[in-house]
């Protein structure tokens, strides 16, 4: 067992740090947050400088962690352009990979994933968007909610029902995935405003009103969409765990810095013990999160994903991000409230919700453990 990152990953961290130093200024981060503005320019530079190297998933993972540690909104915006691309990688045909996936990985195009619906939330199998075969095309009707990159993506991978479920208990059957061009007739977007956090990221509602897509737009086999999406979530949740790790580590950085500058000393000349213990607790949780996240990644990157460990990492990372930002804020008092920690506190909460709520992750862990007879 080796807990060391390889040199490539270490180099990626250095590169991410340098990038964040240069572009993630407080002024930019605050404006993006205040105005709910996607950092188009910074994302363009990040693509040009190939900040995300998709040829090495470890480099992607540590880059997300490092950039989010500096600023969650900007960090996520920079690292989410290829969201959903693994679906092409594992289930798409060569033509789809060539046309859609490669330009996304090359930084030329942006992808979005349309799964969640207004009435569905975590209940993915219960989606209402339909795709009906009409000659050589499918016609899509319905809507998607809370879609990252909603307003900026060139293409969306969209989960839609292509046949009725065989029974109410088997609603996950009869769902298929389509790639939809954002310029398609009948397709429209409503940007969502007033998010609590990650306000630099672009989130929208997608509306499909008789959107016609060619038959070749179906990704993989008809009726296997639910399986594809769940497979993707087992990948993406590890990257979400890296976001949580970055936010928690960012909160720890700020608390440590605060304690050096403003921390009250007791008669012994040491920091008062309550803050010492809080730092130790957050640092321990950050390290535990890192170990879980890297373990989940290690399984995945060897093509032997472990959904139990993946869900553990996502759930624990989200909880650690929320816990760490709250504790840091309580201890840093007005210094925290008036610093960028305030943004970290708001940003962290989304991790408990997106890519599967914390409750859903816990259910996955237990159900799979019971099924497999152990972790």
């Amino acid at each position: 067992m080796d807990f060391e990152l390889n040199d490539d990953a270490k180099d990626a961290i250095v590169k991410a740090k340098e990038f964040a130093d240069k572009y993630f200024t407080e002024e930019v981060a605050e404006m993006a947050d205040r105005e709910e503005r996607f950092p188009t320019d910074i994302v363009a530079v990040s693509k040009r400088e190939k900040i995300l190297d998709f040829s090495n998933p470890w480099k992607v993972l540590v880059t997300i962690e490092e950039l989010v540690r500096r600023d969650p909104g900007l960090g996520i915006s920079v690292t989410i352009s290829a969201f959903g691309a693994e679906i092409f990688m594992f289930f798409g045909n060569d033509a789809q990979k060539e046309k859609y996936m490669n330009p996304v990985f090359a930084g030329q195009k942006t992808l979005g994933l349309g799964v969640t619906e207004a009435g569905g939330g975590s209940d993915v199998a219960n989606i209402k968007t339909e795709a009906k075969l009409d000659g050589d095309s499918y016609i899509l009707n319905g809507g998607k909610m809370f879609i990252s990159n909603g307003q900026i993506a060139d293409y969306f991978l969209v989960l839609a029902r292509t046949s009725p479920p065989p029974s109410p208990e088997k609603k996950h059957r009869g769902l298929s995935v389509f790639v939809v061009d954002s310029q398609s007739a009948g397709f429209s977007i409503n940007k969502l405003h007033g998010k609590l956090g990650v306000r630099a990221t672009n989130t929208a509602e997608l509306i499909f009103n008789n959107v016609r897509v060619p038959k070749e737009s179906m990704v993989g086999e008809e009726g296997k969409g639910f399986y594809y999406i769940m497979t993707f979530f087992n990948i993406s949740r590890i990257y979400v765990a890296a976001q949580g790790l970055g936010i928690a580590h960012g909160a720890l950085d700020r608390l440590v810095e605060y304690s050096k500058k403003y921390g009250e000393l007791s008669e012994t000349g040491e920091l008062k013990e309550s803050i010492q213990l809080a730092i130790a607790e957050i640092a321990t949780r950050v390290e535990a999160t890192r170990n879980l996240t890297y373990k989940a990644a290690s399984y995945l990157f060897k093509f032997t994903p472990n959904p139990i460990i993946t869900s553990m990492s996502k759930y624990y990372a989200a909880e650690t991000a929320v816990f760490s930002t709250r504790r840091a804020m309580e201890l840093m008092s007005l210094h925290g409230l008036t610093s960028d920690l305030e943004r970290f506190f708001r940003d962290a909460k989304i991790l408990d919700i997106w890519e599967g709520t914390t409750e859903v992750e816990k259910l996955i862990i237990t159900r799979m453990m019971l099924k497999e007879g152990g972790a």
Partner: protein, 345 residues
Amino acid sequence: MEEEYEILENTVKDFNTKYVDNNSLKLENEVMGKEFIKMLADQGFFSMMAEESDATGSDVKALSVVLENLAKSAPASAVKVLLANAFSTLAKERGILDAVGNGSKSGTVTFSDLLMAEGQNGNLKIDNGRVKGEKEFVLGSDSDFVLTLLNSGELVLLKSGFTVGKKHKRLGFRSVGFSSIIVDSSDYEVIAREGRKVLRKMYESFSIPIAAIALGMSEGVSQKALDYAKVRTAFGHYLKDFQPLAFDLTSLIAEMDILKRYFHDLLSSPINRKEAMFLKQKALGLAKDISKTSLQIHGGYGYLEDFGIEKFYRDSMALSVLFHSEENDMEELATMVFESKAGFV
């Protein structure tokens, strides 16, 4: 609850129904209009502490009932009322008190003087008969009058000669000004030579009102979560049917009810400093926990301002930072519990 407080509670509930409930997001995020401030003033909410409080603290208790009920819908309006009343306990000049009481002028107190170590929230000095310098972290910095501490420890009332300085990030109560103030004023009055002591006394006497805001927020946000969980379905069930969600919320509501009972007990007995601080400590923690759980129940919608949940998540944390210092308050409480200096290493 005593009849007097029940009447007051119903008054605020009516006020919320008429003027606040449909307007709560605006009251939270935008500047409160003069018209709304006048309405708060017309209800007498800004002048509840204008007279010297009696030994039973009846003014503080009545104020607490008002704050609890305002905070259920629009926590920022409760904070506005709290600041005005904190100001009124310390200011002495009748004309100023009347102006703040009737809403034509506004006043605030720099709570940050007690929450930060000395020197960490700016510097104000008297120099050639003028108060000069900058004071950081002033909640209500858009007010007409500011009560604040000088470096020398005197509590002064600034009547003019100050401007809004560096604007701070606003996690919560976004309709209330929050910035530093730049001061160069000859128009001031020294209220107390031992200002920190006077300010400290006011801060402690406001433990119950601050707790009341936290409790009101807990009631407001948990009611939204209860309502939502009864109508929203997932996986073929109402959200309320799922054990984790139902148990978590029920457990927090049990905690809230216990604290409310404690709050009502405090309203009907002589004020006890330790118990008031117990209530404040626990109520602030509860507001944060219950807001977090309520947001989680709403899922993605809770994350959007339109659903009126995320503001409680922000405000509950802001309340506990703007009117409470975990370290200082716990040291104080520990000393009371141990009956000798405790919790300082």
